[in-house]
């Protein structure tokens, strides 16, 4: 579920700096926008495409990669959609705004870039079938019929990547058939993932191009009122264990207590939604990142599956200094299970 509830604020503040109060209240009102309903049957490939009646939506891909010298890398490719008003219109009249973040991370480098676009004029958008998501020259493109085979590319100052992704498992619907509850008071989103990508391609950092292979995780989520009023940020984990299982878990930090949830994904791709409170995460170590104290080593556990692992940032300085800043980067997992994953943390001011 990662991702920027900041987004509304991101769009709202095309020029002003991020103000915590500007996003905190935004989750609550959804006038005119569609509201996620339990029992909604997701249908594909249509739901790979945009849902302009909902306020926010994203196509969010993270990947843990390895170079020929066993060096670890991570990449992020995210396209956000934010609607100023529900629905779609032609040309400049479109109320849809698009924003994208791309990043490439190694142990000692973290490079990122941001793109912003208006909807309706072709500069950015998403098409369900054949699948295509793009903004400027960044794109996620289906090379087959659906999301099973895609090519992914982005380029910013000092980095670029061009990757081929092949899914070797099914789509995963989070929560109740894709209806994912986000707070005790009922805020929710539609949320599904494709966490089974095998990746190969080229990653170019400042020292030159590297052939890379690895695995990737795509998140799809849309909503209109995703945050409860008192929730100020979240810590989100997507972990892929070497044993084949996967864990998605998040902590939404709120004044009236944290809300945690997630999904356990068996090696065969079967998803089990986690009850609130089942997933636990506690910081072990903080790092100074851009003048903030950010937890970059965590103890996470899911007792019912015997999971108790330490999650360590590959590069503690994985700060996304974009219009709306947050921490996002690859992690390594040790303990009861070993593996890799991605960690996203927001709301650390």
């Amino acid at each position: 579920m990662n991702a920027k509830f900041f987004l509304w604020a991101a769009a709202a503040g095309w020029a002003t700096t991020a103000q915590p109060q500007s996003y905190a209240g935004l989750g609550t009102e959804a006038e005119g926008f569609a509201i996620p309903q339990p029992g909604t049957q997701l249908s594909f490939p249509a739901d790979h495409g945009p849902h302009p009646d909902f306020r926010i939506e994203w196509w969010y891909l993270t990947a843990n990669l390895e170079g020929p010298d066993d060096a670890d890398y991570g990449i992020q490719w995210t396209l956000f959609r934010s609607a100023l008003a529900p629905g779609e219109a032609d040309g400049w009249q479109s109320p849809q705004i698009w924003m994208a973040h791309a990043a490439a991370t190694s142990q000692d480098q973290h490079l990122f870039a941001e793109r912003i676009a208006r909807g309706g004029v072709g500069q950015a958008g998403v098409r369900a079938a054949p699948f295509e998501a793009w903004i400027d020259d960044w794109q996620m493109l289906s090379t087959g019929e659906s999301l099973e085979n895609i090519s992914l590319s982005a380029a910013g100052n000092g980095f670029s990547y061009d990757l081929n992704l092949t899914a070797d498992g099914p789509l995963v619907l989070h929560g109740d058939a894709g209806y994912s509850v986000k707070s005790a008071s009922g805020q929710a989103s539609h949320y599904y993932s494709q966490p089974h990508y095998q990746i190969s391609g080229t990653l170019e950092l400042q020292q030159g191009p590297v052939k890379v292979t690895g695995r990737g995780w795509l998140d799809r989520e849309w909503s209109s009122q995703p945050l409860a009023e008192d929730q100020s940020g979240w810590d989100w984990f997507s972990l892929s264990f070497d044993s084949g299982g996967k864990l998605m878990g998040f902590v939404l930090r709120g004044e009236s207590g944290d809300f945690t949830s997630g999904t356990w994904i068996s090696p065969d791709g079967t998803a089990e939604p986690l009850a609130p409170g089942a997933f636990q995460a506690a910081p072990l170590e903080y790092s100074d990142v851009e003048g903030r104290k950010i937890p970059t080593r965590w103890q996470t556990s899911l007792p019912e599956k015997g999971v108790s692992v330490e999650v360590q940032a590959l590069n503690p300085q994985s700060w996304m200094g974009t219009s709306f800043s947050y921490w996002e980067g690859p992690v390594t997992v040790t303990g009861s299970h070993s593996g890799t994953g991605y960690l996203e943390m927001t709301g650390y001011e």
């Binding site: 503040g13 100023l84 009249q93 705004i97 072709g122 500069q123 400027d136 020259d137 670029s160």
Partner: protein, 805 residues
């Protein structure tokens, strides 16, 4: 010794305070007018730069279509190729009362975004509301007030950092107002581009990359000619001022020859003496220059509003009202004063340097010496004029035009002494009586001392004739052109398109001919172009002011095969009737005719309305020219007002429309006229000073005549007569020079500067007025010396025979 020598040198001014005043005034005048023009130019240019900066276009390169507009799809394609671009859509929108320039920007991309969102937040409005209907207009507080008065649909946010006259809006609103949902005017190339992108030349060969500097100075380029005009006037005034200075410096050194001889006899080295004179000049130049700067600043501040009006009227260029004091301007002004003074004094200083130790301060054998220098001057003058014609024939452009004018004026001035001298010799031959003979000869002898002042007068008079002829010819042509162009009796502007449609129907139902005025703004070779769509109405065939046309021009236009182009466009791109013109890729038309279009800096064409509508279906239909019998005009206006809710100013009868156009025209030349008058004033002053400075030298020549029996009163009358005579001869000679100047202004400078050529008309009454003005100046200039002469103590005249001098 140095101190004593300095004191001795400076004591001269105590005895000749008027001379000192003349010197200071001359330098101050020259510096002042020049600096005024510079201040105006600098201010205007700074205004353009500020406007470009305020609109966020200063730092960025721009992609401009060579022809037409940029299709929206091309913008998306370039973005998808990785280029970071900000789209801009420009145009003019008419709200109920007034037209506004609209600049539509993508608020998410444009460099202005930060300032605009801050302003919106300051107003307590979420910035992104500007992206949703009804949108939001951003404008300078003064423009914001006008926008709010003209419409109430779109809220307005005032932002002092924006230039006046422009409304900035998100492109979603601008594209609706301008009815351009899928085209763009240009693309800003944002500063941050990633390496490794395909070159724009390959991706979009039909778009031209305009460098940031040239983009910022689009207005500057357009108005360059105007500023060059002002500079030329400033230079003329400077030169005229220097004539005064040169004469005064020469005289002051001449009069101190006795003192110089004495000082040198006492052992003061020549180097020291020359150095002291130079230092004296420098101090005077700096003091007078400073005074001139102060005066120049005042003049500039007084003229700036008119200049602003002119620039706004002619080019739509924004110039703010305020004048600011710039150190660079002051320093360059002082440098001009210093340089000019030394240039003017160089001859006198060199003569001083070369003076033999015991050279007598004798009265010069003026006549012989003069005739030699007359010939040298005349030869160089003739060469200059010939060179000027050569430049005009070889080179093109505004600079060549001004170089020609400069050479012509200076050459003619240099020729003047010889011409007057020849005239006087001719006069002397006619003289029968001794007194008359003496008068002619004495006048000729006096010529060298006065020739500089006469040259100044010649230049001022010629400039007056030339510029006056140009302005009057322009006015005459313009008035006639207005008569042709504004042939409809009533002009109506609807408040909205719905009302426009209703009006059209109403006219139709009443059987009234109403010619719609509909247009689409685009670009030709990167420059703005307006395409008018016209209906096939006999009124155009009868009235439209064509300069050149194919035989069946209007038939071809009506058939959609041909286009009429305005003179500016035709001259700029060498278009002639019969040639092909591409308005848009795939839309090539034969040029059927060329029409005059004064007062418009931009290209304009006319095509048949149906063919325009086929390409630009959504263009507004709000303006109508209504044909109606003269006696029906007031009834029609009343009927329209009763039928439609239209503000008074949206209905204009022909006479009012003409008056408005003429008012704009008159304002355009206010500055020219003011500078013209100032130059003439300087010349008159030059005449006065030279007569005054000559006065002392004249005594030795007048005393013998007085001794022979002429009364002082007679002598004084003679002085005035002589002054009149010289001024009259100069004025007569100035006339042909002025006419050549007028020709050059109308046929060379105007064409280069504005893109139109004007026929030249002659205004003999104006010449007569100017002639009398010159005589008046001569009388006034001579009056003071004459008065002194008539009251001079006879003892003074007697002293001439006793004293050394």
């Amino acid at each position: 010794m140095t101190g004593a020598a300095l004191l001795a040198i400076l004591s001269h001014w105590r005895r000749h305070p008027l001379q000192l005043a003349t010197l200071i005034l001359g330098i101050a005048l020259a510096t002042g007018l020049w600096s005024a023009v510079q201040a105006i130019n600098t201010e205007a240019r700074a205004s353009y730069a500020r406007a470009a900066e305020q609109l966020g276009t200063a730092g960025a390169d721009r992609l401009i279509p060579e022809t037409g507009m940029i299709p929206l799809g091309q913008y998306a394609a370039l973005r998808r190729a990785g280029w970071q671009l900000a789209p801009v859509l420009e145009g003019t929108v008419r709200f109920e009362r007034q037209s506004f320039d609209i600049m539509g920007v993508d608020l998410l991309q444009h460099p202005l975004a930060a300032a605009l969102s801050e302003a919106a937040e300051h107003d307590g409005v979420p910035p992104l509301d500007a992206l949703l209907p009804p949108g939001r207009l951003f404008a300078h507080p003064e423009t914001a007030v006008l926008l709010q008065a003209s419409q109430t649909v779109h809220p307005v946010t005032a932002l002092a950092d924006l230039p006046r006259g422009v409304a900035v809006a998100d492109i979603s609103l601008a594209s609706t107002l301008l009815r351009r949902p899928d085209s763009l005017s240009y693309l800003l190339v944002l500063p941050d581009q990633r390496p490794g992108l395909s070159p724009l030349k390959e991706l979009a060969p039909e778009l031209r990359l305009a460098a940031a500097r040239s983009a910022a100075s689009d207005t500057a380029r357009l108005t360059d000619s105007f500023h060059l005009n002002l500079t030329a006037f400033g230079l003329l005034a400077f030169a005229v001022g220097l004539f005064i200075v040169q004469g005064t410096i020469a005289l002051s050194i001449e009069q101190r020859r006795g003192m110089i001889r004495t000082l040198r006899s006492l052992g003061v080295p020549m180097q020291l003496l020359t150095g002291l004179f130079a230092a004296e000049l420098a101090v005077v130049a700096l003091a007078a220059g400073a005074a001139g700067l102060a005066g120049g600043f005042v003049v500039a501040a007084a003229l700036l509003p008119d200049v602003s009006a002119t620039l706004a009227g002619l080019y739509g260029a924004p110039v703010d009202g305020g004048l600011s004091l710039r150190p660079g301007w002051a320093i360059s002004g002082l440098a001009m004063a210093l340089g000019g003074t030394f240039l003017a004094g160089s001859q006198a200083l060199i003569a001083l340097w070369r003076m033999p130790l015991l050279a007598a301060p004798a009265t010069r054998a003026r006549g012989q010496q003069a005739s030699r220098s007359h010939i040298a001057g005349a030869v160089s003058g003739a060469l200059l004029i010939a060179g000027g014609f050569l430049v005009l024939n070889i080179f093109q452009g505004l600079i060549a035009g001004f170089a020609f004018l400069g050479a012509l004026m200076l050459g003619a001035a240099l020729l003047l002494p010889m011409l007057i001298s020849a005239g006087l010799r001719f006069g002397a031959r006619l003289a029968k009586r001794p007194f008359a003979e003496w008068l002619w000869a004495d006048t000729r002898a006096q010529l060298p001392g006065m020739s500089l002042a006469l040259m100044a007068l010649l230049l001022a008079l010629a400039a007056n004739v030339g510029v006056g002829t140009m302005v009057s010819s322009f006015r005459l042509t313009f008035t006639g052109w207005l008569d042709q162009r504004l042939f409809a009796e009533v002009y109506v502007t609807a408040s909205s398109d719905d009302q426009g449609a209703a009006l059209a129907e109403w006219f139709d139902a009443k059987g009234i001919t109403a010619l719609p005025r509909r247009y689409s703004d685009t670009r030709y070779q990167g420059a703005p172009l307006r395409i008018y769509g016209v209906t096939d109405d006999p009124a155009f065939r009868q009235n439209w002011p064509l300069l050149d046309a194919l035989p069946d021009a209007w038939d071809q236009v009506a058939g959609g095969r041909a286009v009429m182009v305005n003179e500016q466009l035709a001259r700029r791109y060498g278009i002639a009737p019969g040639s092909l013109l591409q308005l848009e890729p795939g839309w090539d038309l034969t040029v059927a005719g060329i029409y005059s279009d004064y007062g418009n800096p931009n290209g304009q064409v006319m095509v048949s309305l149906p063919s325009l509508l086929a390409r630009a279906p959504g263009i507004p239909n709000r303006h109508f020219g209504v044909r109606v019998a003269p006696e029906q005009i007031s009834i029609l206006i009343r009927d329209i007002r009763e039928q439609f809710d239209l503000p008074r100013e949206n209905i204009t009868d022909q006479a009012t429309a003409k008056a408005r156009s003429l008012a704009v025209f008159e304002r355009t030349f206010v500055v020219t006229a003011a500078l013209n008058l100032l130059t003439l004033g300087v010349a008159g002053f030059a005449l006065l000073t030279s007569l005054l400075t000559l006065w002392n030298q004249r005594l030795p020549q007048l005393a013998p005549v007085w001794a022979m029996g002429l009364t002082r009163r007679q002598l004084a009358r003679t002085e005035i007569l002589r002054s009149l005579l010289l001024a009259a001869v100069t004025a007569v000679l100035a006339l042909p020079l002025g006419l050549v100047l007028a020709w050059a202004l109308l046929s060379v400078i105007n064409v280069e500067a504005f893109g139109w050529k004007l026929p030249m008309y002659l205004f003999p009454l104006d010449w007569l007025r100017l002639f009398l003005l010159a005589l008046l100046a001569a009388v006034i200039a001579a009056a003071l010396p004459a008065r002194r002469l008539s009251r001079i103590d006879p003892a003074e005249l007697l002293k001439v025979f006793a004293n050394e001098r």
